[in-house]
């Protein structure tokens, strides 16, 4: 609420405060009025208003007004006391005094409804103009669905504690379900078309992110891509690591040569165990920041995973 509105709403209070005189500045009025308000009026978003760095901080919404000269009684005293320059008949309309009083009370100008900066306009909720935090999917104030934010990484999307290879699969699933519970297009029937579209985009992005983060191989590829390492899926070149390739070739030949389901299931079990071992080593490599090892292990995991697909294809039923 602006100071003007406050004044119109509380005329009696104002005249009482001012002791019959004219208000010095609207801001001074606002502070006095704010002193009367209790703490009911608090914003529900995480946005905290820009605080003046210097001088006594005045929160528009806070019930308390800090600074020595701004308690009501003190203000009254300051302004009804005899003016040192002109004696008791003076109406205290001295520009200099006014300014210093204003400065003393506010420090800098308070932050009422100022124009939002360009950056903030982009992030302000369309419905209610409250600022929505980066990555916010739905406005806290008016529950409007926000457009999807491309700059979020998948880890940030799910509010995971950190962007590392190790993650708790149960936490991931919990977050996924929470997000879809709030955002699924099926729940948006009553919303306008624009918001339904946003919700659909959100939901498909969340599905994609979930599937990528869930499988260790794709998670590793994604992490490498995040760190800007040219390897994994993004790497369109060829490798000639003779040991690895020879192993892969022999394994594939082994699978190719047999059609016996028993033998194939044994190979599958061995393959899955191999994958688990590789995942454990990958986790250690990412934790220690050894990117070269991470790249090499990701490649190995890629081949082993491909082999698993081939075995599964050959097995009659699974």
């Amino acid at each position: 609420m602006s100071a003007r509105r406050l004044a119109t709403l509380l005329p009696n209070a104002c005249s009482e405060l001012l002791g019959g005189g004219q208000p010095r500045t609207w801001s001074a009025l606002a502070h006095s009025a704010a002193a009367l308000l209790d703490d009911r009026c608090r914003p529900s978003t995480s946005y905290s208003p820009v605080e003046p760095a210097s001088g006594p901080a005045v929160h528009r919404y806070a019930g308390t007004v800090q600074a020595a000269a701004t308690s009501v009684s003190q203000w009254r005293k300051a302004h009804t006391a005899a003016c040192p320059q002109h004696g008791p008949s003076c109406s205290h309309n001295h520009p200099r005094q006014q300014q210093s009083t204003a400065d003393a009370t506010t420090g800098t100008k308070p932050a009422p409804r100022r124009a939002l900066t360009l950056e903030e306009v982009e992030k302000a909720c369309r419905g209610c103009e409250k600022l929505v935090k980066r990555g916010g999917l739905v406005c806290n104030g008016c529950a409007t669905v926000q457009p999807p934010d491309e700059s979020l990484s998948y880890f940030e999307l799910f509010s995971l504690p950190d962007s590392s290879f190790d993650l708790d699969p149960q936490l991931l699933e919990k977050r996924y379900k929470q997000l879809q519970w709030n955002l699924h297009p099926d729940k948006m029937g009553h919303k306008p078309a624009q918001e339904r579209e946003f919700s659909a985009q959100h939901a498909s992005l969340i599905n994609l992110a979930y599937s990528i983060l869930k499988s260790p191989l794709s998670r590793a590829n994604y992490l490498l891509a995040l760190k800007g390492v040219n390897a994994g899926e993004a790497f369109e070149g060829t490798i000639d690591d003779p040991e690895l390739l020879m192993e892969v070739l022999e394994a594939r030949e082994e699978v190719e040569s047999t059609d016996d389901p028993v033998a194939l299931s044994q190979l599958l079990a061995r393959n899955r165990k191999q994958q688990e071992g590789l995942v454990a080593r990958l986790s250690a490599a990412f934790r220690s920041g050894d990117m070269a090892a991470a790249v090499s292990l990701t490649h190995q995991l890629q081949y082993v995973a491909k082999l698993e697909q081939e075995i599964v294809k050959k097995l009659p039923q699974l």
């Binding site: 390897a231 994994g232 899926e233 993004a234 790497f235 369109e236 070149g237 060829t238 490798i239 000639d240 690591d241 003779p242 690895l244 390739l245 020879m246 892969v248 070739l249 594939r252 190719e256 990701t298 490649h299 890629q302 081949y303 995973a305 491909k306 082999l307």
Partner: protein
């Protein structure tokens, strides 16, 4: 099945434009493998292996981690440095198999210097590979280079050993 479908379409078409889809494919609204790819996939040439330890054999073993493909290309070289025979073994998609099959056909009868000039773009053009499969032809080119490198290393080693 595809092969039986394509020859009829290929004979039926008379499209002058290079790279235009066969009429049947256009009507069906889907992309089909080029007949060369199908040919090399269903009747691959030169599948097999040589003995790796043979001093006249060069082995190129390359892989594409992005798709999990692996390709082995072997060449048999005579004393003058001409390739007399080639074999390949590829685990991968149809385009990768066709690319390596084409590579083994093209290297036969050429010298080691000549085969190094074979570019992946030539292979891709011969097979009309779509953009998403261009890395398969790259794999074939790298396999040829690796095989040549291997035989040269072997020859150098035997030369220095003899000297």
């Amino acid at each position: 099945m595809l092969a039986s479908l394509l020859p009829s379409a290929a004979s039926a078409l008379s499209s002058p434009a290079v790279g235009a889809l066969p009429l049947l494919a256009q009507q069906l609204g889907r992309r089909m493998y080029h007949k060369n790819v199908v040919e090399h996939y269903e009747r691959p040439r030169n599948v097999g292996s040589f003995d790796k330890s043979d001093p006249d054999v060069g082995t190129g073993l390359v892989g594409a981690p992005a798709c999990g493909d692996v390709m082995k290309l072997q060449i048999k070289v005579d004393e003058q440095g001409n390739i007399v025979d080639a074999r390949f073994k590829t685990f991968g998609c149809g385009s990768a198999i066709a690319s390596s099959s084409v590579a083994t056909e093209w290297v036969k009868g050429k010298s080691l210097d000549e085969v190094l000039k074979i570019k992946n773009s030539d292979i891709a053009k011969h097979l009309s590979l779509p953009p998403v499969k261009l890395h398969c032809s790259m794999l074939a080119e790298d396999a040829i280079k690796a095989a040549v490198k291997d035989i040269q290393a072997k020859r150098n080693k035997s030369a220095t050993a003899a000297a």
